[in-house]
Amino acid sequence: MAKGDPAVSSRGRRAAPRSRRAAATAEPELVQLLTPTGERIESATGPDGTEYRVDFTDEEYRGLYRDLVLVRKLDAEATALQRQGELGLWASLLGQEAAQVGSGRALRSQDMAFPTYREHGVLYCRGIDPIMPLGLFRGVDQGGWDPNEFKFNMYTIVIGAQTLHATGYAMGVHMDGKTGTEDGEAVIAYFGDGATSQGDVNEAFVWASVFNAPLVFFCQNNQYAISEPLERQTRVPLYRRAGGFGFPGVRVDGNDVLASYAVTRHALDNARLGQGPSLIEAYTYRMGAHTTSDDPTRYRIASEVEAWQAKDPIARMKAFLDKQQIADDAFFAEVDEQARAEAVHLRERVLELPDPAPVSMFDHVYPHGSPELDAQRARFSTYLESFEGSAH
């Protein structure tokens, strides 16, 4: 599955137009540096004339490939764990690895990210233990890592809410005097195509623009919001939304890790230098179900999925590494083996995740606590003990 589909090359750079689609998804003008068949494009031009290019060492290319494979494998393991009843739910990133690894690796260590619930790939790039989101989906906690330690906020499930948090945080960066230099800080806000319809996201556009916040809006347009296709959210390409708010927008091939990296790095660096916000639309596809609860066969056709299979982000990277002799079979095998081992390790640890103690539900409601809540906890403890007594 993570392997490239050999049929890809014969289909050329772009899949056949899908007639169901409205203008919003007509053949995109997207920034691309690596074609679906693994051809490198030297440089690509954005709608405002920006030239995008990357200049990676072989080592770095291999590193990106490793990230992609690991991220996909860990995600697949989580899906499997859900199927086996070990997680309540899982929101898979399948198909979106390049958008996430590309943007995640483009972040500098001082940059801050605000994810949705699907950014497991970005989380991985931030150096957070990949087990962390599984706690949330298993139901043992609601977010395990320290956002400020890893510069990666908690997951946000309420659609769009985090874009305002990111904007406020970015305003704070500016107020702290941390913009305007090469080592300045920048912020990235992740959200989906569906989220662009929410008031909050548009308010974030207003705020970021008015306060010239050092912020990159990173929209993974995976073509669906659960069952709703993109034309339910817009009739023009999403990246153009930015212009109406007074900042630049660009559409990038979200299945191309190189272009995703280049475009995000450029936007982040602009932001840290004090040039304000921008919007990146990473044009990609949700290859799997919305979550493990979803049944996409009810609302989309197999041929559409197949067309996107031909644009797989990992296959193209592998083809490129292979053709350019940047990596050999031994390398690919070693990466697969690492991925397998990490997945096994993840599984083992998930199964061992302890259930929280019942009374822990009273913890952390307020930093300064509440006498009323203390009383409730005490009563509940006594109540629980009354059963323990009777069980003895």
Partner: protein
Amino acid sequence: MATETLTLGKALNTGLRRALENDPKVVIMGEDVGKLGGVFRITDGLQKDFGDQRVIDTPLAESGIIGTAVGLAIRGFRPICEIQFDGFVYPAYDQIVSQVAKMHYRSQGKVTIPMVIRIPYGGGIGAVEHHSESPEAYFAHTAGLKVVTCANPQDAYVMIQQAIASDDPIVFLEPKRRYWEKGPVDLDAPLSGAYPLHSARVVRPGTDATVLAYGPMVRTALDAATAAAEDGRELEVVDLRTLSPLDLTAVYESVRRTGRCVVVHEAPGNLGLGSEIAARVTEECFYSLESPVLRVTGFDTPYPASRVEEEYLPDLDRVLDAVDRTFGW
């Protein structure tokens, strides 16, 4: 007489279908209500049969759903809005409390907003955060809204149709953990003769204590009553059905007989429905009460991680414990 055994979810689906058939002005709108049939399939098949102008897939924005539904209502439509989960109704809160609730009042009756806002609510399904909340008090405290909830398939089928037929704006709360529970539904009985929408109902008569519940907790209360009966205590169980306005006439009568009252709900206790009910019952039955009205509710914390939700949610034992306490007062 066509009495069928349906799940609560299917009963709602069938009720919605009836409403679409009976009135061309009825429209359904929400996220994923079309091809997908909603994440709980409550609108399954309806877009296929009634078209996408009657069952409208909307952009992803709850304020937009309610706000545009207000406009459709002014135009003469009867919109049924689906909010995907309890925790996602808040972006629409302004439209609901400042617009939907007030328009009839502000216009001195010239504008009517016959809207139904359907919300799957409550916990117990092992979901992640924001998917298990019980927001009824936020709506019941809001003058101009009516709030109802159903607890069994028969009521689901009838009440959804009654809500749609009503000119009042109604928040219709669906006990999502009960969607899959089955029961008999009389599909032919005319709406006109049906049990009134805004009336509570005694669902199990008893003599020793009165237990009030609604939505998902009715089953819990009934189970508690069965268990109590084994211990020789007869609990009278009332399904409130209407949360705003409350219908407590039968409750007062019951409490005057039993002298004891326990209210059960999933929502946090502080300012939950139980507090209003306790206050009113105490006012009306002051000299009959053998003990204060007790409340068995969710705790005053955010809804916790699902692995502890069974402890958070009222269950049979906590209901019985409260009943015991009314006897030990």
